[in-house]
C-alpha cells in the first residue's frame, strides 16, 4: 500500500499508457510527463505568489491580500485575468521579434531544467548521465533571454537592467557551479538520480545528506547565496531594482509577456530550490528513517515549500545590495570560499573515516569564513581629500 502510494503517479502513467499501442507508449509517456511538469509548476507559482504576499505582509505586520476569495486565496486568479486582458504593448522602436521571443525562451529554458530533476522515487523525466551539466546549461541560457529582453526593448532602463542581470548571473553562475562541483566530486556522477541515491542511507535513523558534512554545509550556504542571486531574488534583485530602474529588463513588457517573465522568475526559484534539495538535502528522501512511509514526492515538494518560505523570508528581511557590493561579494567572498571548499572536500575524501577529518575540515572552513569575512567587513577610512593645484 505504502509502496503503491509512493509510486502512484508512475503507476497512473503506466495504467494510462496501457491503453495505447506499443509504438505510441514512449512519446505519449513523455508528453504526459511534460504536461504534468508544465501544468504543476505554474499552479505552484500561483500559490506561491499569494503565499509570498501574505507572508511578506505578516513580516511587516500587515494582512496582505484578503479581498479576492476567502483569505485572498483567489488573488492569483484575479492577477491572471488581469494580465491576460491587459493590452500587450510593443514599443515602436523595439525589435519586435526578439522582444516577442525573450519571455518565451526564458520560460522554455527554465522548464527544461525540470527534465533532469528527480521529484520522487522513479519520478524523473530523463535520467541523464550528465544531468547536472544539462541543468546548468539550461540555467545559463536564461541569461540569454534576459539580455534579449533588455536589448530588444530599446530602453535605457531595460538595457541597464539587462546588463546588470548578465553581470550578476555570470558572476554567481561561477559560484553556483563550484559549490555543486563538490557534490559531483563526492558522488562521482553528474546524474541527479545517482546523487540522490548516494545520500539514500541512514545511520542511527539520521540521513546521510551532504549538508551534514562540513564541506557540504559550506557548499550549501554558497549554493543558497548563488541560487538567490541567479534567480534575481531579493536581496540580489538589482536587475529589476524598481527604485532606480523602473522594472529592469522587463520595463517594456506588459500583459501576458510580463506575466511570463514573472512566471519564469518563480519557476526558476522552484527549479533552483529543487536542485538544491537534490544536491544537499537528499532530494525526495525522508529526513528520518522512521518517516520513510510518507511518499517520496511529498518529501520533495515539502523541501521545495520550505526553501520557498526561506526565499520569502529573506525577501522580507534583507535590503537590496549595491552593485559594487554585489560584485565584491561574489568575487571576494563566495568564490574564494567555494574554491577552498573544493580543497576541503578533497581533504575529506582522502583523510578516511574518523573524527579527525571532521575537526580539520570544519576548522579550515570556519577560519576561512572568519578571516575572509573580517577582511570584507573592514571599513575603509578615507581622510579628508587634499587638493594640489598647478602653480
Amino acid at each position: 500500500m505504502i509502496e503503491r502510494l509512493d509510486q502512484i503517479f508512475v503507476l497512473l502513467k503506466h495504467w494510462l499508457l496501457g491503453y495505447l499501442p506499443e509504438s505510441w507508449q514512449t512519446p505519449v509517456g513523455v508528453i504526459i510527463s511534460v504536461a504534468c511538469i508544465v501544468g504543476l509548476y505554474p499552479a505552484l507559482f500561483a500559490v506561491t505568489t499569494v503565499l509570498e504576499r501574505k507572508g511578506v505582509g505578516r513580516i511587516q505586520n500587515r494582512l496582505g491580500p484578503n479581498r479576492v476569495g476567502p483569505y485572498g486565496i483567489l488573488q492569483p486568479m484575479a492577477d491572471g485575468i488581469k494580465s491576460l486582458t491587459k493590452e500587450d504593448i510593443v514599443p515602436t522602436s523595439a525589435d519586435a521579434v526578439v522582444h516577442f521571443l525573450a519571455p518565451i525562451i526564458l520560460v522554455v529554458t527554465v522548464f527544461m531544467g525540470f527534465a533532469v530533476l528527480p521529484m520522487g522515487r522513479n519520478m524523473v523525466l530523463v535520467d541523464m548521465d550528465a544531468g547536472l551539466l544539462f541543468y546548468f546549461a539550461m540555467g545559463a541560457s536564461t541569461e540569454l533571454s534576459v539580455f534579449m529582453a533588455g536589448w530588444s526593448s530599446r530602453n535605457k532602463y531595460s538595457l541597464l537592467g539587462a546588463m546588470r542581470a548578465v553581470a550578476q548571473m555570470i558572476s554567481y553562475e561561477v559560484a553556483l557551479l563550484l559549490s555543486s562541483v563538490v557534490i559531483v566530486m563526492m558522488t562521482g556522477s553528474l546524474s541527479l538520480v545517482k546523487i540522490v541515491e548516494a545520500q539514500n542511507h541512514y545511520s542511527y535513523g539520521l540521513p546521510h545528506w551532504y549538508i551534514f558534512t562540513p564541506w557540504g554545509f559550506a557548499a550549501f550556504i554558497m549554493y543558497a547565496i548563488a541560487g538567490t542571486a541567479e534567480t534575481n531574488r531579493s536581496p540580489f534583485d538589482l536587475p529589476e531594482g524598481e527604485s532606480e530602474l523602473v522594472a529592469g529588463y522587463h520595463t517594456e513588457y506588459s500583459g501576458f509577456k510580463f506575466a511570463l517573465f514573472f512566471l519564469g522568475e518563480y519557476v526558476a526559484m522552484f527549479s533552483i530550490s529543487g536542485l538544491g534539495s537534490t544536491l544537499f538535502l537528499g532530494g525526495w528522501m525522508a529526513p528520518l528513517s522512521g518517516l520513510q512511509f510518507i511518499p517520496s514526492w511529498i518529501w520533495f515538494f515539502g523541501k521545495l515549500f520550505v526553501s520557498m518560505c526561506v526565499f520569502i523570508w529573506l525577501r522580507g528581511t534583507l535590503p537590496r545590495l549595491r552593485q559594487d557590493q554585489l560584485m565584491n561579494f561574489a568575487w571576494k567572498f563566495v568564490l574564494p570560499m567555494c574554491l577552498l571548499n573544493l580543497f576541503v572536500a578533497a581533504l575529506w575524501r582522502f583523510m578516511g573515516d574518523g573524527w579527525l577529518r571532521w575537526i580539520v575540515c570544519s576548522a579550515i572552513l570556519i577560519v576561512a569564513y572568519f578571516s575572509i569575512g573580517r577582511e570584507g567587513m573592514r571599513r575603509k577610512h578615507f581622510g579628508p581629500r587634499s587638493y594640489r593645484y598647478a602653480a
Partner: protein, 272 residues
C-alpha cells in the same frame, strides 16, 4: 562576524511574522469598508446647513444673508434669496434661501463660511464618501442634500455643537430680556403719557412680546443682569445672534449693531 546582522534581521522578521498571528496590537490594519475608526472631532471636509426640528425646509437656520457666498474664497456657494417670507421654525417671517448650492468639487474646505455665518446655520460636515459617477451634478449639492439636523451636528462635533447651542440660548435670553424691558418701558410710557396718541414704541414692542413662544427658564432678574453684562462685555467668544432651537426672532449683524433700543431688535428682518 560576517552574517550575524542577517541572522539578527531574520530573527526580527520571524518575530514579526509569528507575532502578527498572536498579538492584536501588532496588526494596525483597519479593514476599511467593514470597520472604521471614529473620526476625530476636528475632522471636516465640506459644509452643510443646520436645521432645527424635524422638517428640514422649515427649520433651516439659514436666512439667505449671503455673507458666506461673498466670503467664500473659491466661490463655490450660490444662493438665491426667496421673494416671499416664510415663517421659520419659531414662526417668525423670514427670507429663506430659495436656492442654496455648494459645488464641492470647487470647495476647498477652508471653513470660512462657517466662521462668518452670523446664524450658526452652516457647519462643516465629516462625510467623505462622496464619490460619484457624475462629476458635475453629482458634486453640486443643493439645499436639500446639504440640510442636516442639529442632532446630526451634535453627533459629529459634540463639543462645538453644545457650545453653539449654549451661545444661541444666551442670545435668546438676552433678546427676551430686552424685549421685556422694552415692553415694560412702553407700558410705563403709556401710563405717563396716554394722551399723546403716539403708539409707535408700544406697537413695536408688543409683537416682540407675543413672538416669545415660552418664558425664559431663568428668573427675570437674572436675565436682566445677564443681558446687561452681555451689553457691557462684547468680547464674547463669538457674539453671533440668531435663532436657537426655540429662540426668538433672528437678527442680522447689522441689526444687532443698530440694536441700541430694545424695540428695534424685534423688527426681525435681515438686511444683509
Amino acid at each position: 562576524m560576517l552574517g550575524d546582522g542577517i541572522l539578527k534581521g531574520l530573527a526580527e522578521t520571524a518575530k514579526n511574522f509569528a507575532g502578527s498571528f498572536v498579538s492584536k496590537e501588532r496588526m494596525t490594519t483597519v479593514e476599511y469598508p467593514e470597520e472604521r475608526l471614529p473620526l476625530p472631532e476636528a475632522a471636516r471636509n465640506f459644509p452643510f446647513l443646520v436645521y432645527d426640528g424635524d422638517d428640514w425646509e422649515k427649520g433651516l437656520r439659514c436666512v439667505a444673508c449671503q455673507i458666506c457666498e461673498k466670503e467664500c474664497p473659491p466661490k463655490c456657494i450660490y444662493i438665491e434669496k426667496s421673494k416671499d417670507k416664510k415663517p421659520d421654525y419659531v414662526g417668525k417671517p423670514q427670507i429663506y434661501p430659495a436656492k442654496f448650492d455648494i459645488d464641492i468639487s470647487v470647495c476647498m474646505s477652508c471653513q470660512i463660511c462657517v466662521e462668518v455665518c452670523p446664524f450658526e446655520a452652516i457647519k462643516m460636515n465629516t462625510e467623505f464618501e462622496l464619490a460619484t459617477d457624475d462629476r458635475f451634478d453629482g458634486l453640486l449639492l443643493d439645499r436639500k442634500q446639504l440640510a442636516r439636523s442639529n442632532e446630526y451636528y451634535h453627533q459629529i462635533h459634540p463639543t462645538e455643537a453644545s457650545e453653539v447651542d449654549a451661545r444661541l440660548a444666551e442670545e435668546k435670553a438676552k433678546v427676551e430680556a430686552k424685549a421685556k424691558a422694552a415692553a415694560e418701558a412702553a407700558a410705563a410710557k403709556a401710563v405717563t403719557a396716554p394722551a399723546t396718541g403716539a403708539p409707535a414704541v408700544p406697537d413695536a414692542a408688543k409683537p416682540a412680546a407675543q413672538a416669545e413662544p415660552k418664558p425664559a427658564p431663568t428668573t427675570k432678574a437674572a436675565e436682566v443682569a445677564k443681558a446687561s453684562a452681555m451689553a457691557t462685555a462684547p468680547a464674547a467668544p463669538k457674539p453671533v445672534p440668531g435663532t436657537g432651537t426655540d429662540g426668538p426672532a433672528p437678527m442680522t449683524t447689522e441689526d444687532r449693531k443698530n440694536a441700541e433700543t430694545p424695540a428695534k431688535t424685534n423688527e426681525g428682518e435681515p438686511k444683509a
